[in-house]
Homo-oligomer: 382 residues x 2
């Protein structure tokens, strides 16, 4: 039981979403070496950081990892204490709704009151202590009825690379550590806005960034899937029914691809009544824990520069650096001496078999390189 | 005897100047891997190209190479048919005058009429056939009296990185192949001008680029050294006297460092009388054989881009290239896939232990990187 809460901590389980195969960190990220298994900003890999933040709140049997067969050997190696049957290998990627719902059905029969937290495996969080405080408060809220909770991050800049959440009416106050934070209903999810809209969002004070972290009880999510996606629910319940038996793997492989490929936001959180009222009891708990989704090399640069005026420094990951009238550059070239002479705002990333040269702005378009390589028969480099 | 000449071809010997230890092609060039032993633009290394251009005019015993102990193993390996005693190892660098004069004294006793051609080992020449035609004409001129000849290249742009030669009065016409070229006296050597002066030089039509290629007979040069630099002449004659004996190496090592360190231009070609008249009979034979001294990565880019609008192309030396809205870049990263995204006019060079990132303009300042590395105890990278 955590200090300052009047109720015992509800049972908690985590779903780590680790099936992504992003191309935005090419050439470091590859099909079998996606962003979540890379050491981008610190000691461990992104997925190791994600699990480490949760470890003191969760025992290993309550950590579930959803990934794919290409990535799982690396993930199992990086997370040696995860239980083997908690690593679920999607035979085909079906977006987030089937993945989250499957775990809900797996837990529903034995422990429907378990609060499930959904966590992307490739984001950074700068303040893990505050993160856990917020998470405990959100878990209490999710356990206090058929409520769904999303963690929102108050925006500090008009970022166009993030999804936003429009907040609705003020609702119950929630205790986060020694603070009291006002939890509000979610009015709407908005995907990446253009910069004009992003600026308006930030000015209005009524929008937060969507952290991609959701909480709900297993029973609440299972019911919501049965209500909004009955066909998906039927398929997933058949798969869940075989868990722990020798048939599970074959049934998972056979049936999972039947599920509709859809995100949890669209499938469960967004459906509205004919009058436009939200059908789900969705609440947003706004709290800043220095969250960054590291969506590009430029975002990694900004995260690592970590100074008031990031434009003035270079981030050089190399054995030695020489900087002559250069600024704002990110260079990754492990083991080499790197020299910058008269260059600004570049991103240069060197791996064993590839060299990317772009600008911080241009790093948004690195996916085009991967597309070009696939088109020209160089899949081996992607 | 070459067609079109009325006199037999004079005996010719070549002095290949290969002692330079430039830093402008860092990180490819290093102390023991200077520009002249690098493959910068083609099949062979710069010094191999230099010797290959001359090979059909000269037998191996007439090719002399001046270099240093650090570079000689590589040079001997790259030039397997050079005679071992024709490779002269300067115990200390003394600039070009002692090196050229030593060979003159070595040949003077047995064959003073031999025409000596002095050739930098790290320049490119695009038209070797024309180059040899010009060279034959220059050799005839040098053999026809106590004349000294320098090859000049008509400037095609106001280059600030080259030395210029101001031409004097028109003089004898010289036959070059089927053409007749007017040979002129040299009025003055001018080191790298600023861009205002460079533009004035090019406009005037009275200036050519100094190719660094000189011709004179062994007797003429030996006499000129005795006249203008009597102390140097004395030392070098003592060294030359031991050539072919077991004492040569020791004497070379002991005495050569006594010589004044001075360029052949200053020592022999520039001395003037009290009235300002040139003391040497120095002629310039202007002829374009697509010469480029490749003084920087930017110069190499321009040489290799080899199109009317070099700004529009990228030169990528790699196993694979992907170019997305990028132009004007030079990238060297052998064996790797290189991707350029939204970048212009960059120079990126990757070696086993170093990575240089600069612009075409900035590549003039690469020497500062080497200076910085030496200052900070990283001699190993220079």
């Amino acid at each position: 039981m955590s200090a300052g809460h009047s109720h015992p901590q509800p049972p908690l389980a985590a779903i780590i979403l680790a099936g992504g195969s992003g191309t935005r960190f090419w050439p470091r990220s590859r099909k079998a070496r996606a962003k979540q298994v890379l050491k981008l900003d610190g000691e461990g890999t992104m997925i190791q950081g994600t699990v480490d933040r949760l470890r003191e709140m969760l025992s290993p049997e309550n950590i579930w990892v959803i990934t794919n067969p290409l990535l799982s050997p690396t993930i199992v190696e990086q997370l040696p204490d995860i239980l083997p049957d908690r690593v679920l290998l999607e035979p085909e990627a079906r977006n987030t709704a089937p993945a989250c719902a499957l775990v809900a059905f797996l837990l529903e029969k034995k422990a429907p009151e378990t609060v499930l937290g959904v966590f992307p495996s490739d984001h950074t969080i700068g303040d893990p202590v505050r993160f856990r405080l917020v998470l405990r408060a959100a878990a209490h809220l999710a356990a206090s009825g058929p409520k769904m909770v999303v963690l929102g991050v108050p925006p500090t800049r008009p970022e166009t690379g993030y999804g936003y959440i429009e907040l609705g009416a003020a609702s119950v106050p929630v205790r986060v550590g020694e603070e009291c934070i006002s939890v509000r209903r979610v009015r709407r999810f908005t995907e990446k806005p253009d910069s004009l809209r992003a600026r308006a969002f930030v000015r209005s004070g009524n929008y937060v960034w969507n952290s991609g972290i959701f909480l709900w009880s297993a029973g609440t999510l299972a019911s919501a899937v049965r209500e909004h996606k009955p066909e998906m629910a039927e398929v997933l319940e058949r798969i869940a029914g075989a868990f722990g038996t020798p048939e599970f793997e074959a049934r998972f492989k056979e049936l999972y691809p039947i599920c509709e490929s859809i995100s949890i936001d669209y499938a469960i959180l967004e459906p509205r009544s004919a009058k436009g009222e939200a059908l789900s009891q969705l609440y947003c708990l706004p709290a800043d824990f220095a969250w960054n989704d590291l969506g590009s090399w430029a975002a990694l640069y900004e995260h690592m520069a970590d100074v008031n005026d990031p434009q003035s420094v270079n981030v050089i990951e190399a054995s030695h650096g020489v900087e002559i009238t250069s600024s704002g550059c990110y260079v990754y070239s492990p083991g080499k001496a790197v020299a910058l002479v008269g260059v600004q705002d570049l991103v240069v990333v060197e791996t064993e078999d590839a060299l990317l040269i772009t600008t911080r702005d241009g790093s948004q378009n690195v996916g085009k390189v991967v597309a070009e390589l696939r088109k020209t028969g160089r899949e081996d480099l992607t």
